[in-house]
Subunit: 553 residues, 2 copies
């Protein structure tokens, strides 16, 4: 059979961009986007995307150029997920909550040629461009206006070449969009949020995003024409690939600029929302809102980033939310592990169901393999639910690599055929895995690996603790010992605990080697713009303290 | 970005075989197969497939070898869809209704090393092997026994090396299955049914079947754990890729050896069937059965091969079947066009709904493009619903090519990047296409393309007509004219029509150029083993009649 080689017709590159064309035929008259009082149909969205692709091509954007977007989840943001790559260019969405210096770093690193800027990010871009070295040509800017946002007098010196609607209007709806020459051609560039060090530019190709979009739909059993509420920022890893997925199933994209519980409940009611993705904190907001009331129809929520807490899960489910838990990272473009639910688990008590659902689970259909391995040897760890190892993955949803960082790429996308996630977990006997920590946050004390997250989880049960982060502190005898940075709640009725009391609290509930040998109270823990605690800053502090010189226990 | 090349972790070959491993983890305790009183779980099926793969590897089967199966839809047939390629080999399922000579041709052409033979196909294989030339080593045979089939004294001289259950028992459940080195590696070989000439060996690779399986699930909105009734033979284009699809979603495969309406209704009731695939004739059987009664729960039926007739559609839907209509061929491995239904069409009267549903529709999500083109120039035809052209496709579900037939492969998988289906259709203004004929059956009369199928459809409305086939007859003046071969119903109350009456019947309802200029009555029309009329035989007869010498009209 060796004579049978791929030929142009079956080699036709996989790309999620074709979903839009198909949606315009099948769902032409059906709503594609709903945003305040604006509604588009799929044929309008198809036409507008072609117009934008045509316009930016006329501006000189071509294959391989990077086009950035600084925008919340408004219709333009959705359209640009198609329009930019339909011009052959690479879409780079940037978190609007970053500071100006970071935005300038990303724009310079990506060599962005064109930036679409939401009206509320004008001054952010203005400040970011001020950081540009004088010899660097700044990118062309396009302003995304919004009737819903009252015009503010702009103090900005920045010049916008055009408005987004101007770009739409000038474009040719008959534009022949640029199909990728190869399915491995880059399509998006996403910078990781940088809880550790400098941000990394994750590049995904057309093939990866095609598989990711189908994978995301199948794993979550999304059928045709869902109503999808965009509570997950599209700048966050391209909304886990759902912008393309929604075109595949002709869903309605309910857009929104910002949200709180009343807004979400109102939109669910108004549009008949059936699906949404959200960080656990959003689940928290929805469950604890004083205005919440049971939903008329079930709403499926996919949550990832951290396992949902038992109490929140219970409350959310009692309101009518159907919660699924998955795991993904910028490097995987979509959820690649999910806690596939078994009907027989429904018979268990709530606490047991929550324990099971807190696990990240099994690989999704689009991925080839997942394992938990010893990082050095690559050997699988015991399937005992307690031996720590690094989560490794292989499959088509993985990134191509990091932009301009061959060393970083080679370090995680290893020649052995596995992607090393840097997350540490255990494999349960039933084949479901559970993440325990980031590998760089694991503390090795007396040769034992201990999960900083487990110590933190226990400390969060202390009534006086507001936030906590546990990191390694060098130790002469043990190598490392746990060091806890704790911020306390606003003063309540009881006096604040002492360092010793915190340690004793831990000693009662944890094995000795896991008990922090150092406790440091801090008013505020250092955080990234997305609210993640920057452990690398705390590690520096712990290292600067010097060795903890504990004696044997 | 040129430095970013695929790496082993993301290059990991796409294959549907991994779905089974995952099903064993997620759906381990859930039913995988139900057949009479036998039920397997997904962990049992996983284990049994590994055992079979291990056993046949021990027998010397390895990468690139062809392993054939002659079997109806029993559990072994399902398992072999995984077990054979898990040994690295290529699965070749053979229609059990073929005659012995054809089976011998296929076994010889495929160079099959091993054949799994259902107990009821023993004498078929015996006869087939008798056709083998003396110098050719016959393949090893394994017998699929069945407790449900009473043992018959076999007159067969054929020697079986082992039974299927023997093969299962001898295998190692810890076998490390053979992953493809490349996703383009061949995985199945299916012979087309040969309505035209000699059968062609269609080869599909792992990548194509991975995409096909996901494509089939998504297009039909199949969610997790469906109960799937196997009314479609798995030897028919691998059951449109649903054997792999069912493992992806952890469905229950309800197997059955043969069926009629009472059996199907009983199985629907017993197992709570939610999905089935079927040729329109099955829909016909179900709708017309005297024992039928409304279903308790809706059953989704996917039909392809020919559009469902309005009256049957209406009856089936009134019983509770939800009918979807699609199009595929052995060369596409799954349904690649489907009549994606629009909610607003539900408001139309039944006849209009049937007319819309009779269209083959739009490309499915996994395919890149479809078009209707002028076969010579490759230019798209007008989207007017009447201009005939050839259906062309591109996308990942297309075959690798025909085995040992580079010429046939190059003829349809053209260098222009399109697969030429040989089917002729029209594109409607709304972007939905409709198939009108096989291209080789189109009759060109006075420069006008006319669809033989349209003339046949009209002739089927004549009360005396039982079966009809219209082919081209050479004509001095017009080039070709339509020639109708007609078999009449058993004698009824009215006298049989004459040739002239048949032509007059047509003249009243068709444009002049479409009216058959020759009518031939025949008791039986020549057919393939699957019951399709062999037009190529009739064309020979029409050609042998010589020119029809019609005068101008």
């Amino acid at each position: 059979m060796e004579e049978l080689k791929p030929r142009p017709a079956n080699l036709s590159p996989l790309t999620p961009l074709g979903f839009l064309e198909r949606a315009a035929t099948v769902y032409g008259d059906c709503p594609s986007i709903a945003y305040d009082d604006t509604t588009y149909t799929w044929s309008q969205t198809h036409r507008r995307c072609l117009q934008v692709a045509s316009s930016i091509s006329s501006l000189g954007i071509k294959r391989g150029h990077v086009v950035s977007v600084l925008s919340p989840n408004v219709p333009a943001m959705y359209e640009l997920h198609f329009a930019v790559p339909m011009a052959g260019a690479i879409l780079n969405t940037i978190n609007v909550r970053l500071d100006a210096r970071m935005v300038s770093i990303l724009l310079l690193h990506s060599e962005s040629k064109l930036v679409f800027v939401d009206c509320l990010s004008r001054s952010l871009v203005n400040e970011a461009l001020a950081f540009f070295p004088p010899h660097v040509q700044p990118p062309l800017l396009i302003l995304i206006t919004d009737n819903e946002v009252p015009p503010t007098p702009s103090s900005s010196a920045v010049h916008f070449y055009d408005t987004y609607e101007g770009v739409v209007e000038k474009g040719d709806p008959e534009f022949k969009w640029v199909r990728p020459d190869s399915e491995w051609e880059p399509m998006v560039l996403n910078y990781t949020s940088g809880t550790t060090s400098s941000p990394k530019g994750v590049v995904h190709c057309h093939r990866g995003l095609f598989i990711a979009a189908l994978n995301a739909l199948l794993d979550w059993s999304v059928s045709n024409q869902p109503v999808f509420l965009w509570t997950l920022p599209m700048f966050h890893s391209n909304g886990w690939s759902f912008p393309w997925g929604m075109a595949a199933v002709g869903g309605t994209n309910v857009c929104l600029r910002r949200f709180d519980a009343p807004i979400i409940y109102r939109l669910i009611e108004r549009h008949g929302v059936s699906r949404m993705c959200a960080a656990p904190v959003v689940l928290n907001i929805l469950s604890n809102s004083p205005t919440n009331q049971p939903l008329r129809n079930p709403v499926h929520i996919l949550t990832a980033g951290a396992p949902p807490a038992a109490s929140i899960l219970l409350r959310a489910e009692s309101l009518g939310f159907v919660v699924s838990h998955g795991y993904g990272m910028t490097e995987t473009s979509c959820v690649v592990l999910s806690c596939a639910w078994k009907p027989q688990w429904n018979r268990f008590p709530a606490s047991e169901r929550a324990r099971l659902k807190a696990r990240q689970g099994v690989r999704t259909i689009g991925m080839t393999e997942v394992d938990v391995v010893d990082t050095e040897s690559g050997a699988s760890v015991k399937r005992d639910g307690s031996t720590l190892g690094e989560i490794v993955l292989r499959g088509a949803c993985l990134m191509l690599g990091y932009f301009k960082d061959p060393e970083g790429t080679a370090k995680c996308l290893r020649e052995t055929g596995w992607f090393y996630t840097g997350d540490v977990g255990v494999m349960h006997p039933d084949g479901y895995l559970e993440i325990k920590d980031r590998s760089k946050d694991v503390i090795i004390s007396g040769g034992e690996n201990l999960s900083s997250v487990e110590v933190e989880s226990m400390l969060y049960t202390h009534p006086a603790v507001n936030e906590v982060a546990v990191v390694a502190r060098p130790d002469e005898f043990w190598g490392e010992t746990p060091c806890a940075f704790v911020s306390l709640r606003e003063e309540g009725s009881t006096p604040n605990p002492t360092e010793k009391e915190i340690m004793e609290f831990c000693r009662a509930k944890l094995p000795h080697y896991m008990v922090p040998k150092t406790v440091v109270f801090k008013d505020d823990l250092p955080k990234t713009s997305t609210g993640k605690i920057q452990k690398f800053v705390l590690k520096e502090i712990a290292r600067a303290m010097g060795s903890s010189r504990t004696s044997r226990m």
